[in-house]
Symmetry: C2
Subunit: 324 residues, 2 copies
C-alpha cells in the first residue's frame, strides 16, 4: 500500500491490486484489497486471441473495473514466451499481433501505475505457493499438463525467472533424442510425450497401425473421451495414458535431481484423469529417481486453485514486486 | 565477525573463517581473514579416503592451523551425497566409513564453532559465483566434467540446495532412456555419456568392435592421452569427444530451459581438452536449445579458480551462513 501525499493532505490511498489473466478464449480481470484473494470486482471478456484488437479489449476490460486513484499496481499472467524483466511478449503463438509487443510499458503509460507480467505457468506456480496447495513450502515445482506442458518453480522462496525471464520451461526438456516431435518443433521433449494432444496422437497412430480399440477413429477425439474409454477397459486407451505417465515419471525424476522440491503440484486438464496417468507416473518415478531420499516426505498433489490460478498468480506477482 | 564480551572486557575477536576441502586423495584446510581469499594459514594432508581414520586425520588437519578464540566458523566441501541442512554425509562412495555420518555436529562439538557443509560441486559453483568467473551474475550454472559430472547452481542470487539438500545433481539427468549405464546404476544420464570414464568406455567399446585407432588397447587409457591422439588426427578419438560434446549440448539445452542462466561455467579435468569437446558441444547446443533467445548474451566460460574452487566455496558457504 502506498499513500500519496500532496502538501500535507492525504489525497488517496492506493490500496487495490488489479490482476489480469489472458487465456486463449477469455481475458479475466479482477481487483483485490490488501491481504485478500476474494475479488471486490471482476470482469470476464472474450479474448478472441486470433482476432485483431486483443490489446484494446484488454484495456477496456481493465477500465471496466478501474477505480481512479485507488489502484497501486497491475499484475498480468499471459501465454509466453515473454520477457518478465522488460514486460515484452516475444511471439506467443495464440496472439499473432503480439510479436515483440511491449505490453507492460503500454499499459503502464495508459493507466499510470506499475504493471508486472509473467507467463501463465509461472503465475499458476506462484499462486499455488502463495495461496494454494504449496503454502509454507520453500521449494515447489508446479506442472500444468494440458494442450502443452508448462512449469513454474519456487526455489529457496523465490520465483525462478532467469536471466532472460525464460526459466522453468519444464515442458521443453529433452528426455529422448529419438522421441516424437514437440509442438515447438524440436524432438523428444516431455511435452511431446505427455501433453493432451501427444497422448491423442499416440492413440491415433497406434489405432491407424492396427491396434484395436472400442473407439471409432475420430479426428476430434479428446483426452476426456479417451479417459472414459480407458475406464471401461479399452486397453489401447489405457496404454496411451500409461505411456504418458511413464515418460512424465522420467521428466519428474530429472526435476527432483535438479530442484529437490518438497512439493510437486499438478495442474491442467489432463491431470484430471487421475490414476490412469498417475499410477504409471508414480511407478516410473520410483524407477527413475536418482536416489530414494528425494522421495522422503515429498508431497505430490493436485493444484488447489483451479481456474483462478493464473489470476491469483498475477495478483501475487504484483504484490511481490510492490514489496521489493 | 562476532565479538565475545565478558563483563565489560572484550576478550577475543573471532575473525577467522576456516575452510576445508575433502578430496579423494587430499584433505586441504585453510584459514582466512575477513574479505580476503588469500589464506593466512593452510595445510594439506593425504585423505586416503579408503583407509579408516579419515575423520581423525581431518580433525588433526584443522587443529594444525587452529587459532584458539579467533575462529568464527568452519565451512566444508565434501563429496556427496550429503545433507547440507543437517550436515550428515549420506553414503559417499569414496569414504566407506562415512555412511550417515553426522560430520558437522561432530566437528562443531569438538571445536565449539558453527560448521557448515555442502557437496564439492555446489561449493565450486558457489566459489566461482562469489570469487571467480561468475562474479556479479545472478543466475549461474556450474558444471564440472571429471570422473563424474557435478553441478552447482546459483538462481536469483541464491545457492540451490533443495528440500533434502540434494538439488543441482546435474550429472544425473536422464537424456536418453536407451543410453548407457551411469556410475550410479541408472541408465542414460548425461554423466554416462560425457564424463571422462564414459568417453574412455565408448572409445574402448568402439575399438573392440573393430573401429581403427592409432592407440593400442590400454586398460589405463585416460582422457589426456585420448585427447593427444585426437589432436594428431585419430578419428576414433575425435569421435569419442565429439559424441560426449553432442550429448553435453543436449543436457545444457535442458539446463538453459530450466534455469535460463546468464553464465555457464565449466570446471573439471575433462573440460581442459577444449575444442575437441566444446566445438561439438556448441553445435549441439545451438541445435537443441528451446529458443535462440536463451543464447543472447549468455557467457560460456571455463572455471577461474582451478583447484581452489572447493576450498573457496567452503569459505563462501561459511561466510554466507554467518550472515543469515
Amino acid at each position: 500500500m502506498r499513500i500519496l501525499v500532496k502538501g500535507s493532505v492525504i489525497i488517496a490511498a492506493m490500496t487495490l491490486t488489479l490482476a489480469v489473466d489472458i487465456g486463449g478464449t477469455h481475458i479475466r480481470v479482477a481487483a483485490y484489497e490488501p491481504n485478500s484473494i476474494a475479488p471486490i470486482a471482476h470482469q470476464r471478456t472474450k479474448s478472441l486471441a486470433n482476432t485483431p484488437g486483443v490489446y484494446n479489449r484488454l484495456v477496456k476490460a481493465i477500465e471496466s473495473i478501474w477505480k481512479e486513484g485507488q489502484v497501486s499496481a497491475i499484475g498480468i499472467a499471459s501465454p509466453g514466451p515473454l520477457d518478465p524483466h522488460t514486460g515484452v511478449i516475444l511471439d506467443t503463438p495464440n496472439i499473432p499481433e503480439w510479436t515483440n509487443f511491449p505490453l507492460t510499458s503500454k499499459l503502464s503509460d495508459h493507466f499510470g501505475v506499475p504493471v508486472h507480467l509473467d507467463n501463465d505457468a509461472n503465475m499458476a506456480g506462484l499462486a499455488e505457493w502463495q495461496y494454494g496447495a504449496g503454502k509454507g513450502h520453500h521449494d515447489l515445482v508446479y506442472l500444468t499438463i494440458s494442450t502443452g506442458i508448462g512449469g513454474g518453480v519456487i526455489s529457496n522462496d523465490r520465483l525462478l525467472q532467469g536471466f532472460h525471464g525464460l526459466g522453468a520451461e519444464l515442458g521443453h526438456i529433452l528426455i529422448d533424442p529419438d522421441g516424437p516431435q514437440c509442438g515447438c518443433g524440436k524432438n523428444g521433449h516431455i511435452e511431446a510425450f505427455s501433453s493432451g494432444p501427444s497422448i491423442i496422437r499416440y492413440f491415433n497412430e497406434q489405432q491407424r497401425d492396427g491396434q484395436k480399440s472400442s473407439l471409432q477413429p475420430d479426428p476430434s477425439l479428446g483426452t476426456a473421451q479417451l479417459a472414459e474409454a480407458a475406464l471401461t477397459g479399452d486397453s489401447l486407451a489405457i496404454s496411451a495414458f500409461s505411456r504418458a505417465g511413464h515418460y512424465l515419471g522420467i521428466a519428474v525424476a530429472n526435476f527432483l535431481a535438479i530442484f529437490d522440491p518438497s512439493i510437486l503440484v499438478f495442474g491442467g486438464g489432463v491431470s484430471q484423469v487421475g490414476d490412469l496417468l498417475f499410477k504409471p507416473f508414480e511407478k516410473s518415478l520410483r524407477m527413475h529417481v536418482f536416489h530414494p531420499h528425494y522421495l522422503d516426505d515429498l508431497i505430490i498433489t493436485k493444484a488447489g486453485l483451479g481456474d483462478d490460478a493464473g489470476l491469483l498468480g498475477a495478483l501475487a506477482l504484483a504484490r511481490m514486486k510492490s514489496n521489493e
